[in-house]
Amino acid sequence: MTMKVIVIQFSGSTCDRDLVYAMREVMGWQVDLVWYKEATNVLDDYDAIFLPGGFSYGDHLRAGIIAANTAVMDNVKKLANDGTPVFGVCNGFQILVESGLLPGALIGNDTLRFSCKWVNLRVETNRSAATSLGIKGDLWRVPIAHGEGRYFNDELGLKELNDNDQIVWRYADENSQITKEANPNGSIENIAGICNLEGNVVGLMPHPERASESALSPWGTDDGRLYFKSIENFFRRI
């Protein structure tokens, strides 16, 4: 049975078409790209919901906050709380954080610059929907492209994330070590992606959809595919 998923196109989304391409052409899923206003009442029809990257509302006020306050997000929240898998990549992660579906905040990179480069992600847990096939310690090569991707949480929040195994990926070096040099944006504890308590809502700053075909990777890798395959696997389980 093929996955049937929706990608919500917000005003100012830019990675929506890439996400559709990776899931439709590479994974062979059934994918609908739907304008956010038209998406509000059709979310029930899908196995999973994707919030794409980009600059929704031009990143005005704060990245993701305006999109987080649209009507469609009220329904996304309801479904997420009922267990529907919801995934946010880059700006989609920012929207998930701003809407309260995921804890913490994403603030400006410590370099004060937008940064686009390939990084190593170390898988920290396989309990999230997007790493269900991953093995703790796996390294995925995936590119980042963001100016506000620095994950932050306070001491208590971090403790909860760690205690509950909600940290899904960390930025690591070639040898799987969590180092300052491997951290591209100053994220606390090198955090690149997290999930909610239940593991069905997952946010990630780097772009797996850009790393799912060997032709696009400087190393000929396709590690981003593991992200989507894990989602497939997770869906089969529920």
Binding site: S11, G12, T14, C15, R17, D18, Y21, A22, E25, W35, G54, F55, Y57, G58, D59, H60, T111, R113, F114, S115, C116, K117, P143, A145, G147, H207, E209, R210, E213, A215, L216, P218
Partner: protein, 748 residues
């Protein structure tokens, strides 16, 4: 036209010839609005009045050409029912004053040029010409132009595909910021900037009209002076978020067949749109100025007509489609208004508060007279020796020379810049910024196995010392970069950045560069499909004109994009092959400028008779899968090209100079000459003979000069097997890779 404010003939800022062209047709006084429109359309930027008589030296036709110069962007057939649309443009003057907004709106403008041909823009390129990197003003400019290009391009979601930066003191005040964009579309979706049918409606979509950019085109046609700061209002402000929505709405409207004509609003704003669409369609246009949404309510009609506010598009739409196109615009929450309609009159008529304030034949606006510029041989050229050669360095000096070259302003890695650009979005980039001689984009989105290659190139040093050969050389260099990734060069556009054309010595260099470009284009069989000319890049305070700085945007085609190669060494023990002949040509080279601080010497010449065959063979061996890496030799010569390949692959090399085919035995020339038409390949041992024989068929030199090594050392030996260069790769790489970041951010 009663109760109008008319302007006296001698108050109008036009030359005598330009006035004659207007008054001989009109035979009456001009209104204030008419005068403003004519002034801006007669500006150098809009009218190409100085360059127009010279540009016919460039060939513009070829079997692939769908749209050549004259449209908003060049369009070429790339097979599989697809067309490539590409263009580059300068945003020099605005960027010199306000580098962030100047460069950002440069990107905004060039995106519109691609969009208004009907194509989805998929890639961006940029070229910066700045003063010395160590200079604080240069750093300020570099920081903000990079941010401007990046924040606009990233937000609108278009990938960077490459670029080119040169640092030279002649650009200290007048920096040159050129930006390029390309897009791909199905051929049948081509849109034209035309209003063909009387009765069709004229719609303005997008941003409101304000005072930003008032007279921007006129301002770009002046030298920069101490008063230029007060022109800051002439720099437009961009809104990439709205641009993203405009792109989606425009493409959706075209797909639905709702668009008869399309024009972007750039230089000269509404004036340009209503006159060029009418003139191209052989019709007229009539608009009501009060229908335009204003940002500032007290704007005078002439200001509204020439405002260059960003994020606006002009549509020609059939009356029966107005509702449908309105629904598309509304989906994206974009405001729009119907300005008026197409007429049969051949005139541009503007009404405002019940009065006709403009009533001009369209051709008076679109076809102003050319200027008759004088050219004379520049004094600085007479002062050059022309054949200058430095004393040959001692063998023990080579290591140091090599270190200096790889750490010079013009050689060091540009990653600090392009890491601030999204190079991945769109899932197209197969050879990415910094990986090879040209950016390669796949077209899988369009169900095609093909790919396009794009590159920006210039060499102001060589164009300064020898404008003709310099001009020819940069086109050769550009096409060589295209061939080096395995693509066939198919067309180019240019941006010609020069000083004040009213100075005969500057104009002479302009003529010679264009002549050189034209001869090289014919030899390489690549047509020019568009371009842009930027004059008045002259610092009046210090009386310095920029060095002649044409920038070329060349495009190439790969039939199978999976065959593209990059410049990275792949495996130890692979063979290194040098193609082409090394000549005593170090004029304008990194070696001359960095090591000898000398602006002199013989500039590389294009071998017109053989270049086409050479590049065809290069593409052939790559397509056949015989080479594992490929790099064109340019700045810094053979040494720099090899070293870049080593840095990318994190592997060393060992070569011997005895098999370098050259007209000299001088080691410095062998290593640092910038002779054109040379490539380095790496290949497996079993393919060496075949590669060499393919080139030998046409008597093109090809020789095995050494091997890739596991040991991370750069080793060059002479005829006596004595090592003249022996450097640690890591040491050279560290400086090359980090120097720009350290200059910009401070040492870590």
């Amino acid at each position: 036209m009663s109760q109008q404010e008319y302007i006296l003939k001698d108050k109008i800022n036009l030359t005598e010839e330009e006035k004659e062209a207007v008054y001989s047709v009109l035979k009456r006084d001009l209104t204030l609005s008419e005068a403003a429109m004519l002034e801006v359309m007669n500006s150098e930027h809009c009218s190409y009045k100085s360059s127009r008589p010279v540009l016919p030296k460039l060939p513009t036709e070829g079997p692939r050409v769908i749209c050549g110069p004259g449209e908003d962007a060049g369009v070429v057939d790339i097979g599989d029912g697809l067309a490539l649309v590409f263009k580059l443009e300068s945003h020099n003057h605005p960027s010199a004053l306000d580098p962030y907004n100047g460069s950002a709106t440069g990107i905004g403008g060039i995106i519109r040029d691609i969009l208004c041909m009907g194509a989805r823009p998929i890639g961006l390129l940029d070229s910066f010409r700045l003063g010395k990197l160590s200079d604080p003003h240069t750093k300020w400019l570099l920081k903000w132009v990079t941010k401007g290009v990046g924040s606009y391009g990233n937000c609108v979601g278009i990938a960077n595909a490459g670029g080119d930066i040169e640092f030279d003191p002649s650009f200290q005040i007048n920096c040159l910021i050129n930006v390029g964009c390309f897009g791909v579309m199905r051929k049948e979706e081509l849109a034209h900037s035309r209003a063909n049918t009387p009765g069709d409606k004229l719609i303005l979509l997008g941003g409101s009209t304000g005072r930003d950019g008032i007279g921007g085109a006129s301002f770009a046609s002046k030298n920069i002076t101490e008063e230029s700061e007060s022109d800051r209002g002439a720099v437009q402000i961009g809104d990439p978020y709205m641009k993203k929505l405009i792109i989606e709405a425009t493409l959706e409207a075209i797909k639905k067949g709702l668009v008869e004509g399309l024009k972007d609003l750039g230089a000269a704003g509404v004036t340009c749109s209503i006159s060029e669409t009418a003139d191209m369609g052989g019709t007229g246009t009539e608009i009501n100025l009060e229908n335009i949404r204003l940002r500032e309510s007290d704007m005078a009609p002439w200001e509204i007509l020439i405002s260059e506010s960003q994020e606006r598009m002009f549509f020609v739409v059939k009356p029966e489609n107005i509702e449908k196109i309105g629904a598309v615009f509304s989906k994206y929450e974009l405001p729009y208004e119907i300005l008026g309609e197409v007429t049969e009159s051949g005139k541009c008529v503007v009404k405002y508060k019940g009065q006709t304030i403009v009533d001009l034949p369209a051709h008076l606006l679109t076809k102003p007279p050319a200027a008759d510029r004088k050219a004379s041989y520049p004094k600085y050229l007479s002062a050059l020796n022309g054949k200058w050669l430095p004393k040959e360095p001692k063998i023990n000096e080579f290591n140091d020379i090599c270190r200096k070259i790889m750490s010079s302003d013009n050689m060091i890695s540009r990653s600090w810049v392009y890491r601030q650009y999204d190079t991945e979005i769109g899932l197209h980039s197969v050879v990415k910024s910094g990986q090879g001689d040209a950016g390669v984009f796949r077209l899988s989105e369009f169900n095609s196995k093909r790919g396009v290659a794009v590159t920006f190139d210039g060499n102001s040093q060589q164009c300064y010392l020898d404008p003709y050969n310099g001009g020819a050389g940069i086109l050769m260099e550009s096409c060589s970069n295209i061939a080096a990734v395995g693509a066939e060069p198919i067309a180019f556009t240019d941006c010609l950045n020069f000083g004040n054309p009213e100075h005969p010595q500057v104009f002479w260099t302009f003529e010679k560069v264009v002549e050189g470009l034209g001869d090289a284009a014919r030899a390489l069989d690549v047509p020019c499909v568009g371009g842009n000319v930027s004059f008045y890049n002259h610092d009046e305070v210090n009386d310095i004109a920029v060095k002649p700085s044409p920038v070329i945007f060349a495009a190439g085609l790969l039939e199978d994009v999976s065959k593209a190669v990059n410049a990275k060494f792949k495996e130890a023990d692979e063979f290194i092959i040098l193609i082409g002949e090394t000549k005593t040509e170090i004029g304008g080279s990194e070696y001359s400028t960095v090591i000898h601080q000398k602006d002199d010497g013989i500039v590389p010449k294009v071998d017109f008779a053989r270049v086409k065959t050479l590049l065809t063979k290069v593409v052939y061996v790559i397509k056949s899968g015989l080479v594992t890496a490929s790099h064109d030799i340019s700045k810094g010569g053979l040494f720099a090209a090899l070293t870049e390949m080593a840095i990318l692959g994190d592997l060393g090399y060992q070569i011997n100079t005895n098999r370098i085919v050259a007209d000299t035995e001088r080691l410095d020339i062998l290593l640092f000459s910038e002779s054109l038409g040379r490539f380095i390949f790496t290949a497996k041992e079993e393919n060496i003979e075949e590669i060499i024989s393919i080139f030998a068929e046409d008597e093109i030199s090809a020789s095995f000069i050494g091997r890739v090594t596991q040991e991370k050392k750069l080793v060059i030996e002479n005829n006596d097997n004595q090592s003249i260069v022996n450097l640690s790769l890591d040491e050279v790489k560290h400086v090359w890779k980090n120097r720009m970041e350290e200059e910009m951010e401070g040492k870590k």
